[in-house]
Amino acid sequence: MIDVSELKAGQTIYLTGTIYTARDAAHGRLKALLDAGEKSPVDFEGKFIYYAGPTPERPGRPIGAIGPTTSSRMDSFISYMPSLKVAGMIGKGDRSDKVIEACKKYKMVYLLATGGAGALLARCVKSSKVVAFDDLGCEAIRELTVENFPVIVAYDTLGGNIFQRTK
């Protein structure tokens, strides 16, 4: 989708391609599977995980409102991201230092989507299907095809951090 090592904190980019939703409950399930030595039900290699749980789609529509949720709740799962070979994560808000370090060490990026812009972001989602943990409802893992999905680079692969100035 994109060469993440070229991204710099503070840059605005537009994603086009496949991304996967996963939030609190899906991360819990993934952790349990990986801890048990099993494989992830989804191949995340080179893809972004989007911390989001949409509203139900209306008939004939690909998705409902789909803005980001607070990323720091998923910080405790960061050590699982390199083994899933994700390109990075999309969410909102700052995160712990171990996420900044992991981004640097494993060449991942953390991107921000605008929180509370779920209706606007839905316009960038062209198709959507549940690919794992269907029973989790809005917390299931969905494969999204997005077009020009606007994000801001928060943590880059060199340790750059957009939130630095407020700390």
Partner: protein, 276 residues
């Protein structure tokens, strides 16, 4: 005595929740537009532009404003001359259940320990008070968790005074940073006891006007000004716009206490008041 029944209540609750999940109130829309004009930070301006466009996108596309359509919080003021021919909690919950299905809203309520979803977004959090008259006034807010999670309560010392209160509010917002989706609305409950100050703070968030008490209004303005100097900015990315409004509700407290609750609300300030 005026008789009010199950369906009257559930219908009103359902329609009210649908309305506020899709249509941002004029007051909240104006705040966004005003901030967009005044904001000097370029990235903050871009975020505010998206937030502004989002309100129109929600209406044009019939998509909820935000995917977190909240847990339903209902303040019910019941007139003493009303005779309820039903269980109020059941009627409110029936309205919630209907709304979250009918309007394609996300069901975000789960058991706190098993985390098993209740699958209909019930139960609502209901606060009941009595007043005069023969009507029921309902103040309803689908409250999102991103902002709720960053809220705090403190049992301050009476000697901490106004400065202590201001510091607690500002520190709470600073710790929250970009997580609760700023620009924010801050509900502050001062006084009462532990639970009373939290309820005061939540109810303060359902206001759209500053306090009628001049001293309180001044404090609301002072705290807002402090917050807008923090450079937290929209989504925590820096800028002049961190807080749209501070609303303070007070209640007398014990001579040894100064309870203060800070309830945070994101820029998608969804609340509505209806009368039956």
């Amino acid at each position: 005595m005026r008789e009010i029944g199950f369906k009257e209540i559930s219908d009103v609750v359902s329609a009210a929740i649908g309305e506020c999940c899709y249509h941002l109130g004029d007051y909240a829309k104006c705040n966004i537009k005003r901030a967009l004009e005044k904001e000097t930070n370029a990235l903050a301006k871009e975020v505010l532009r998206q937030i502004d466009d989002n309100a129109s996108a929600a209406e044009e596309d019939n998509t909820p404003i935000c995917q977190d359509t909240g847990i339903a919080v209902v303040f019910a003021e019941i007139g003493r001359d009303v005779h309820l021919s039903c269980d109020l909690y059941e009627a409110v919950n029936a309205g919630v259940k209907e709304a979250y299905d009918k309007f394609y809203l996300r069901k975000s309520v789960a058991d706190p320990l098993t985390r098993i979803n209740t699958k209909d977004n019930t139960p609502a959090v209901v606060h009941i008070t009595l007043n005069s008259g023969d009507k029921i006034r309902l103040k309803i807010a689908p409250k999102g968790a991103g902002s709720e999670n960053m809220s705090k309560v403190a049992m301050l010392n009476p000697s901490d005074g106004k400065e202590g209160i201001k510091k607690f509010v500002v520190d709470t917002v600073k710790v929250a940073g970009g997580r609760p989706c700023p620009p924010l609305y801050i509900g502050v409950g001062i006084g009462g006891d532990l639970e009373k100050c939290c309820i005061l703070a939540k109810e303060a968030l359902l206001r759209s006007d500053l306090s009628v008490d001049p001293a309180i209004r001044e404090l609301e303005r002072e705290i807002k000004e402090e917050l807008n100097k923090t450079n937290i900015g929209p989504m925590g990315l820096g800028g002049d716009t961190t807080c749209f409004d501070v609303f303070i509700n007070t209640f007398p407290c014990h001579i040894a206490s100064l309870p203060v609750a800070v309830n945070i609300q994101c820029h998608a300030n969804r609340h509505i008041e209806v009368e039956i």
